[in-house]
């Protein structure tokens, strides 16, 4: 999976080299953060750290009780 993540990195670098878009500091920063997320997430899945993590826990903690309340009260 990490190799596939590197394809996204390669695609973005190829765009920088071939298209040569004019970029501000923020453009570089956001692109690098997103590519970092791609590789980092791929590493987490590849190394099986994946099943022990639940990054959606905060969303579930906030919204699941409210939705369940609606299901129970309609």
């Amino acid at each position: 999976m990490i190799w596939f993540a590197m394809l996204f990195v390669g695609g973005t670098v190829a765009e920088w080299i071939i298209v040569k878009p004019k970029q501000k500091f923020q453009d570089w920063a956001v692109q690098l953060v997103l590519l970092g997320m791609t590789v980092f997430f791929a590493v987490l899945v590849e190394t099986d750290v994946w099943p022990q993590l639940d990054p959606l826990e905060p969303l579930k903690a906030v919204f699941m009780p409210m939705t369940e309340w609606i299901y129970n009260h309609v």
Partner: protein, 361 residues
């Protein structure tokens, strides 16, 4: 911005923006709670459509010029507006991951059981990333071209099983009361229908913005009609068995058998569903990239199409461990979460703008 999409393109984008995954997941979400009265849930979809069209109309009336993001700037000021739009970024990112995970579950079950999930995800991520990189007008044209084929295929595939249908399965009406019907309506009629509010993203991109609320109504009516057709077929062909199936719509098409040659048409449905999913993913990936562009003051949304596609590709596997986890999230988190983001953010913007106009200006 000079790029514009026509009203027809917007309507088709909205239709497939809901039905892209809705065709396969809405009958499942309904069948979890009710079987015989599922068609009533499909009809009730129209209630939220009217509500969503109302929000779009009000928003366009409050901010008659500029884009959704110009409206955020006006209502909240530049910095708070950008901070508020981070809710949109988070929503669009998790939503995209959810959609891609839905696709790989569907593809794994139906056509590629032995292929690694990340390869399935990668194939679709490349496709929608390229579509967004090409621009919204390309996505609009694709929606326009594919719609004729998709609609024709839906009509043929969902009417052919009539031979094995039993209309009596629709009766008696409301036999278990309204409770299961209302419970079944929570996911499709809130989470899915509110996605129509995504039309706000196209305020400055559509040729005639004053008719955008009408376009949402038209799209909602088409979606309701298609959902009604699919759900009635699920009820009269599969009956109570639909409760135990992950993809009831697909099973309906699998039941087609005429003579020795016309059978296994579910492959055609899989292809059609994948096209509609591609349109949906392209639409919401565009929205994700555009929200990122605004939130971080980037030069263009196109620049981040590829890296954001990568983040969605990897995130879809990291955030949702398996089918059960995804279904739980879809049924028990998205209804309230979508309500808060899709009604809360534009609603707060309108309220803030009213207050600013009245007391500050």
């Amino acid at each position: 911005m000079n790029i514009k999409i026509s009203r027809v393109q917007l309507v088709f984008l909205l239709v497939w923006g809901i039905l892209g995954t809705g065709t396969i997941t809405i009958p499942f979400a309904i069948a979890r709670f009710t079987v015989r009265d599922g068609w009533i849930v499909a009809l009730m979809f129209m209630v939220t459509v009217v509500f969503a069209a109302g929000i779009v109309w009000l928003f366009n009336r409050s901010f008659p010029e500029g884009s959704l993001f110009d409206a955020f700037d006006k209502a909240f000021g530049r910095y708070v507006g950008r901070a508020a739009s981070l809710f949109g970024v988070l929503w669009a990112y998790v939503f995209m991951c959810m959609l891609v995970r839905e696709l790989n579950l569907f593809v794994e079950v139906t056509i590629l059981p032995k292929t690694a999930l990340y390869i399935i995800n990668f194939s679709i991520a490349v496709a929608f990333t390229y579509a967004v990189y090409s621009g919204i007008e390309v996505i609009g044209r694709l929606a326009e071209v594919f719609t004729i084929v998709i609609l024709a295929a839906y009509i043929v595939l969902f009417f052919l099983p009539l031979r094995v249908a039993d209309v009596h399965l629709l009766l008696p009406l409301v036999s278990s009361g309204w409770k299961p019907i209302l419970r079944a309506a929570i996911n499709p009629d809130i989470s899915f229908a509110l996605e129509l509010i995504a039309a706000l993203q196209f305020l400055h991109l559509v040729k005639d913005r004053n008719k955008i609320a009408k376009d949402v109504l038209i799209a909602g009516t088409i979606i309701t009609a298609i959902l009604l057709m699919i759900d009635v077929m699920v009820i009269i062909v599969l009956g109570p068995a639909s409760t135990y199936l992950a993809f009831p719509g697909l099973e309906v098409v699998r039941s087609i058998r005429y003579g020795q040659f016309i059978e296994r048409l579910d492959t055609i449905l899989v292809m059609i569903v994948l096209i509609t999913m591609f349109l949906k993913f392209s639409l919401f990936h565009f929205i994700l990239c555009d929200f990122l562009r605004y939130s971080f003051n980037l030069s263009s949304a196109k620049l981040i199409a590829i890296p954001a596609g990568g983040a969605v590709w990897a995130g879809s596997l990291l955030l949702f461990k398996n089918g059960a986890d995804l279904q739980k999230f879809m049924l028990f988190v998205t209804p309230v979460w979508f309500t808060v983001v899709l009604i809360g953010v534009p609603g707060t913007a309108m309220a803030a703008w009213m207050i600013r106009k009245r007391f500050i200006s």
